[in-house]
Amino acid sequence: MSVISYTPQDFKSDQYVRWCPGCGNFAILNAIYKALVEVGVSPAQTAVISGIGCSSRLSYYMNTYGFHTIHGRATAIATGVKVANPALSVWQFTGDGDCLAIGGNHFIHALRRNIDINIVLHNNEIYGLTKGQFSPTSPKGLITKSSPFGTIERPFKPAELIFGAGGTFFARTVDVDIPTSVEAMVAAAKHRGTSVVEVLQNCVIFNDGAYKTISTKELRVENTILLKQGEPMLFGKNQEKGLVLDGFNLKAVMVGQNGITENDVLIHDATTPDFFLHQRLAAMSGPDLPIAMGVIRNVSEPTYDEELVNQIHEVQSHSSVKTFEDLLNSIESWEI
């Protein structure tokens, strides 16, 4: 987009970063610095919108235009920013409470409209900032300040909600895996329409270990699959395992065993409009199936902001009303 190239430093603000030591948000912050360098849009052309929550503090740490708004409204505010100035690269950083509890409605409507913003969802399955209540993604049974006997609520599966609302882009990463986060964020930036990057984020204080099964490189090799567009769905230490279809379900197999070859393994295609396989991939969880990481869905559909601008141009090309004065001349009026 730009011939100037930036360094992570260009995107860092002078603010002291105030998360708890060990918080997963630090890694996410590092990832976004790196990703923005790759995206290549200038800090001045980048707008970072956040709601309220630990995660939402991120906007202060970016040397871009930033707006730390109110709880739950970041998606709607980001929508306004983008429509007002579609030339901006608009990012939203938001928590599972901010985005999916109080902000749920704006979120699903943004996805429906496919407005071109990039949403990074810091999913720590807890309300961090308010010191530890369960969130809409907390696993059922979790004991928290507001659920002393365990929650009785079924959690949202973000990917499924997103697909159900018409989402065109979904990626998943885990905070500690910065390279995958960077890749996902860059892909999100390139995708036109609402992109959601769900980052599984550890809250060391109120929900430590929520993602412990994928918290180290070794564990991730064991328990996740990193999906790559156009590549076979292989995983394991030596890429010795693969995913195949079993009816409508996915199954993990050993390549080379029972006559299964790499050719039997599914090829990842994030670009199919039909979300069936994306849903299946996103739904995978241990122990039989690996957790899917990377860009799971990446589909091209017209965006709201483009459509709006197109419609404006279309109408303007047919109308003689170019100014307020023209408008007055166009309406019924008479001399007295």
Partner: protein, 613 residues
Amino acid sequence: MTKSNKIIELEQVVIRFSGDSGDGMQLTGTLFSNLSAILGNEISTFPDYPAEIRAPHGTLDGVSGFQVHLGAQKIMTPGDKADVLVVMNPAALKVNVHEIKPGGVIIYDEDTFNTTGFQKAGFETENPFVELGLKDVQLLSVPLTEMTKLSLEGSTFDSKAAGRSKNMFALGLVCWLFNRPIDKAQEFLMKKFSKKPEVLRANIKVLVDGYHYGNNIHLAVSTYRIGKSNIEKGRYTSINGNKAVAYGLIAAAQKAGLQLFLGSYPITPASDIMHELAARKDLGVRVIQSEDEIAGISTAIGASFAGNLAVTSTSGPGLALKSEAIGLAVMAELPLVIVDVQRGGPSTGLPTKTEQADLLQALYGRNGESPLVVMAASTPDNCFDYAYMAAKIAIEHVTPVILLTDGFIANGTALWKLPSLNDFPSIEPPRAIVDASEWKPYLRDPEKLNRYWMMPGTEGFMHRIGGLEKHCITGEISTDPVNHQKMVDVRRMKVEKVADFIPPLTIYGDEESDTLLVGWGSTYGHLRSAVDELRESGKKIALAHFNYILPLPRNTHEVLSHYSKIIVCELNGGQFASYLRSQIQGVTFQQYNKVQGQPFEVEELVVYVSTIL
């Protein structure tokens, strides 16, 4: 029951069209008022819709009315009671029985005045006029339905479709009655139905037949001639408040050199502002019909952050929902125009009725010390001016502004002289006057105390704002006690400073009288007309009418303190009175209030004031 017919020369006249929702009364009334305006009359109109749901045909709930007041001059209200009432069915008669002046004319469709019609309207006898105790009116029975069918005989319209044109027959008749030019009416219809030549032809045929019907049979009622007004020469249109708000915003955006953005969610009676702006893609207006009111204002806040002239429009319940986000706009200090077209409350209330009961909500409906500018338009046409000024203040003082209108002026129309933008003050978005390296997001203009508005995309001015309390210069998050006090104070002072940029309060009427009526917003026409009437009858009385509410004009205390008796007249329980008491010590305020979902009547004001003078 009837008087002898004569030609009455009038300074002004009130005509009310009333019928079933499906009878086209709004169109009839609009056409008639426009015809009158073209003739050089002043006009004021008020549609009186039924509740939001369509009620069954012929019932009281389904009655839809449109009142037109026209005259040579000083037409400030749609009029209290009608000189001429046109009713399309018995239900319309029943609903409007108290809306007719003594000696007035009732034109009714005799074809609907039958047993079925009486029953639907809940009459118990076959003589509705007697049953209603109507005396001292001139009745004019016309077979509207039948004549319309006859008029369309041989056309392709079936009799049901033909029936739908009977409003045109009535309009033709009334045009004859008031000497309105039938050819102008035809022109209007031609525009309206340009895409439906069939319908157009039928409507014109019926209209003309109605006119001639009056002419031919020389109906046994008074006919009217109305003097021409001597208003300023120029190009005019008739405009309602919602459209005027939309136009004012468009004008302001152009003057400021900004793109106009509206984030809004439909709600009666504010939706038409959105409809109007959504249709202005030719002018590049960006409208998001959002998923709810919170998203409406949130998208607007985002658009403001991004540098647009950002607006959100709503009515009372929607304003309540926006409360929290308005607080963000106050805290972040962003320009934002919030239009609240008030309606009857509380809660869902009376959505199609008018009221002034959102004032205190506008002033105080947010957590914390959260000051912003509150202003109110007072006539359909000055909705243009105040929308323009709301935008100017929002932009130049970098603050949210709530503009209050209400169902009465939003839907009512008045004559409007097409403005020239040259006559309007410039609007200068306040941009940083120092280099990026020296600039800080909460540096302020020393005169207005606004911060400077620098938007994304501007090289070098990257910064962060937000809803947490912030340091008074850098904008960094701050919980410092003294800084907080400073910021609370400066946000208040910034709003108070707006008083240096608004006109002083003026007095209408007898400045030297003892008694002062005080009003704000849409009651202006009624209050002023009442003052005129009172003065004509020899009483001494003055009026102070407010368009700027927070801050109040600087001279408010001084002006008010001249009067020993001050009566604050409002369509609510006394909200402005209560606000004035809280702001102006040492002055005693009395109240005259009405909370009935209806505008004042000039007459009730005159009677009330007369009793206390």
